[in-house]
């Protein structure tokens, strides 16, 4: 049993945790809920020795402990998978695990480690190839590496910070199966999540944080989503927005027989032809890794088309790079916010300038103006941060995403490419972004929404394109299709074949 008693943690200008208490029992899966910036990651970082609390105590099996580094916590069996992974990309799975283990138990034998990895992965259903290089792995697989790392370090208490935010529904299901096995074997698990349905289905108890304070702990069996939502935000929140379908006909952008290579040099987009209509929300559905990322990058101008032609507003732009596409009005919210969409070492307003810095006349940037604009942006989108001059990496995960969205939406684009835009957002913010994107499309702005969440795709879009293996399986209307039909297409069945059968 782990108990945190009246934990307080202050950052300059912000009280991230205010006398928070938390009890996690042996063999249970405990969820930690709360809005973006509520202090969830901070509380867990205190438990793993990354931060030292300004007040409060931690007890393990009734004994008081004090951690001055994550190593101390690991020795007591506490391990955490962070919101943003900490793996060395060019190294193999086994090498990464060796890196973290070698400080503790002197194992330098790669063979032995590979054997142990396979042992753990079989025990808990975490399939992974120990010889694969990290950069070759999908996000879901990288997460498994982090979990196996903790298991090999002997963790009895596992903490996962928004693990399912980056997973496909199938992967998330597999993860929960794994976690359940671990709980049965006597391990305790704390999971942070913004997805209420999975929390309701898979956890034993739930603690809710709001503005750094604990609102209470409830048994999952005895509560419901509505009650939880109220605990999180302090009021009832209205359920999601309705979207009125509209059939748009003016063409904004056309892709004709476009093919493109992936990072590994293999063909990832195969002969894609599609029209994007002005003012529509076009959804791209598909299992992660089926060419959606390459499609987004090709449209954004970050990846060049190997074949085919692209035109925007009737003009050919096949050869134009990212800068020209920005000037054409193509905004892009990439999947990878930490190294692509934002520069985490720079502060909030320097990141806002990433989009707008070219618009200042002459060779200089007017930083006063940038600061002023950033203040407005932050206020309008309710981005919560301690100070605009702090590096962005100090912000909470959801607020980082909000800042990125705010910048891309506010730059007066004609087309917004949004890849997994709701990732890491709390329920309130998700709802806000949904409304916002729908609102933008009503103003005539086009949205290309790439998401693995069928709920979002079905409720927000005017049309849906389903991709599989880099090809288009078919185009459907949300009111004329079903989850089953989309599911079959995502698995590789063409729409035409479906209807012939």
């Amino acid at each position: 049993m782990v108990e945190m008693r009246k934990i307080t943690k202050e950052f300059p200008g912000i009280l991230a945790n205010d006398q928070v208490s938390l009890v996690v029992n042996k063999g249970e899966i405990h969820a930690l809920l709360g809005e973006n910036g509520a202090g969830k990651s901070t509380l867990m970082s205190v438990l793993t020795g990354l931060y030292r609390p300004d007040g409060g105590e931690i007890f393990i099996e009734g004994k008081r402990v004090e951690f001055s580094s994550p190593k101390d916590a690991v020795k007591k069996g506490i391990g955490m998978v962070h919101q943003h992974f900490k793996l060395v990309q060019p190294f193999t799975v086994a090498e990464n695990i060796m890196l973290s283990i070698k400080e503790l138990k002197q194992i330098y034998n790669l063979k032995e480690i590979e054997r142990q990895i396979i042992g753990q992965s079989e025990a808990f259903g975490l399939s992974i190839d120990p010889k694969a290089k990290i950069w070759q792995l999908s996000v879901g697989e990288q997460q498994r590496v982090e979990i196996i790392k903790l298991l090999l370090l002997g963790a009895e208490f596992l903490i996962l910070d928004e693990p399912t935010a980056v997973l496909t529904p199938q992967e998330a299901k597999a993860l929960y199966t794994t976690l359940q096995k671990m709980a049965v074997s006597g391990k305790s698990i704390v999971i942070i999540s913004h997805k209420m349905n999975e929390v309701m289905e898979n956890t034993n108890s739930i603690t809710v944080l709001r503005d750094g304070r604990s609102i209470g702990t409830v048994q999952t069996k005895t509560t419901n989503e509505k009650e939880l939502a109220k605990m999180m935000v302090g009021r009832n929140i209205s359920s999601t927005t309705g979207k009125t379908l509209s059939a748009k006909t003016d063409i904004l952008m056309t892709l004709a027989n476009v093919s493109a290579l992936g990072d590994n040099g293999l063909l990832k987009l195969k002969n894609i032809s599609m029209d994007i209509y002005k003012g529509e929300i076009l959804g791209i559905a598909g299992v992660d890794g089926n060419g959606q990322k390459e499609l987004a990058e090709t449209v954004a101008g970050l990846r060049s088309a190997k074949q085919g032609a692209i035109s925007f507003c009737g003009k050919d732009c096949t050869k134009s790079g990212r800068k020209k596409r920005i000037n054409l009005g193509i905004s892009y919210v990439p999947e990878d916010r930490m190294t692509t969409g934002l520069v985490t070492e720079l502060n909030a307003y320097e990141n806002v300038a990433l989009k707008s810095y070219r618009k200042y006349p002459g060779p200089f940037i007017s930083w006063d103006k940038v600061k002023h604009d950033s203040e407005q942006l932050i206020e309008k989108f309710d981005v919560r941060l301690a100070s605009m001059s702090n590096p962005v990496k100090m912000m909470s995960g959801g607020n980082i995403q909000k800042l990125l969205l705010a910048r891309e939406i506010e730059s007066n684009p004609k087309l917004i490419i949004a890849v997994y835009p709701m990732r890491g957002l709390d329920i309130g913010a998700t709802d806000y972004v949904r409304r916002l994107l729908i609102g933008e499309s009503e103003k005539g702005i086009t949205v290309l929404l790439i998401s693995e969440d069928l709920e979002d795709i079905l409720s927000m879009t005017d049309r849906i394109i389903v991709m599989h293996g880099g090809e288009i399986m078919g185009v459907v209307k949300p009111n004329e299709t079903s989850r089953e039909e989309i599911g079959l297409m995502m698995a590789g069945k063409r729409k035409v074949d479906l209807h012939e059968a």
Binding site: Y51, G301, G321, R322, Y332, T339, E350, Y360, F364
Partner: protein
Amino acid sequence: MKRKLLGSWEIKKTNTSSGLKKVVISVTSIILGLIFAGLFVLLTGKNPLELYTEIVQSSVGSIYGLSETIVEMIPLALCSLGVSLAFRMQLWNIGAEGQFYMGAFGATYFALFFSGLPKLVLLPLMLLAGLICGGLWALIPALPKAFWNVNETISSLLLNYVAYLWIAYLVYGPWKDPKGNNFPLTKPFSDNGTIPVFGNTRISYALFLMFIIAVILFFILKHSKWGYEIRVSGSSRKAADYAGMSYIKNVLLVMFLSGSISGIAGMAEVSGVLHRLQQTISPGYGYTAILIALLARLNPISILLVSFLMGGLLVGGYSLQTSGFPSSMVSMFQGSILFFVLAGEMFNNYRLVRKKA
């Protein structure tokens, strides 16, 4: 993050670090570094205090000493400004020494073969030649870096030796002064090929060049769009691509300019101080420049200050040699200072606080 230390004190991580605090820490580190180096002097049986007095006396204790310190400061500061620009983009150009020699080569070519041109034509021509030669020399490691991501650290370092040997070839061979008693040096530059000096000191007007370049760099880095691009590209190449910045163009441009500033330093040295090209024209300015850039945290204005200090140390070192110390003593001082400054870096991010009872 807080770490436990002794009893009621602990080390606490801070997110903010005031300018004043940085200065205090830097100065303290330098003093500690000198004390540490002093221990080694003690081992040789000499009194370190006497030695330091001697260094201070000879470097800033007289008008002559002061002027010599400034003479050393100019190439140090220019080379350091050059490398700091590349460092901002995380391009580890450690080839300033070679770029310095190539700048000197370019300038010397015009000084020797167009010696008849009027001063107002010849000097700018030499400056341009030095600038371009230094810049092109830095482009050699930049091209493979930009196109195939070949590490620039080693290639830029190795090119230093190539540049050094090229100059050696010239001054032992085709460019040797026939009337020079077989010494490895060219014939002296004509008066038109030399930069004027202040009064009867050896400080040339290149001093202005140094200030101008420092100020320009300061504004570019802090306020310009291009300076912003350099910072973004240095932090994350993916983000630079995402924002539509041309990484390749910026690598080439930054490396060229970085090398060209060191090239200007080389030009200023042969045209303003030595008035000829010879085999050794630098006691390792290009290497010390790296140290200076890091000590000054790549800030152009701090670079000027630190260069002045290092210049003084060099001048002090020369005078130590006359009192029987090896010249490598200065390198030891530099190393010791660097060590303590890096250690002091920690205190910029951490703070010692008294625990609340």
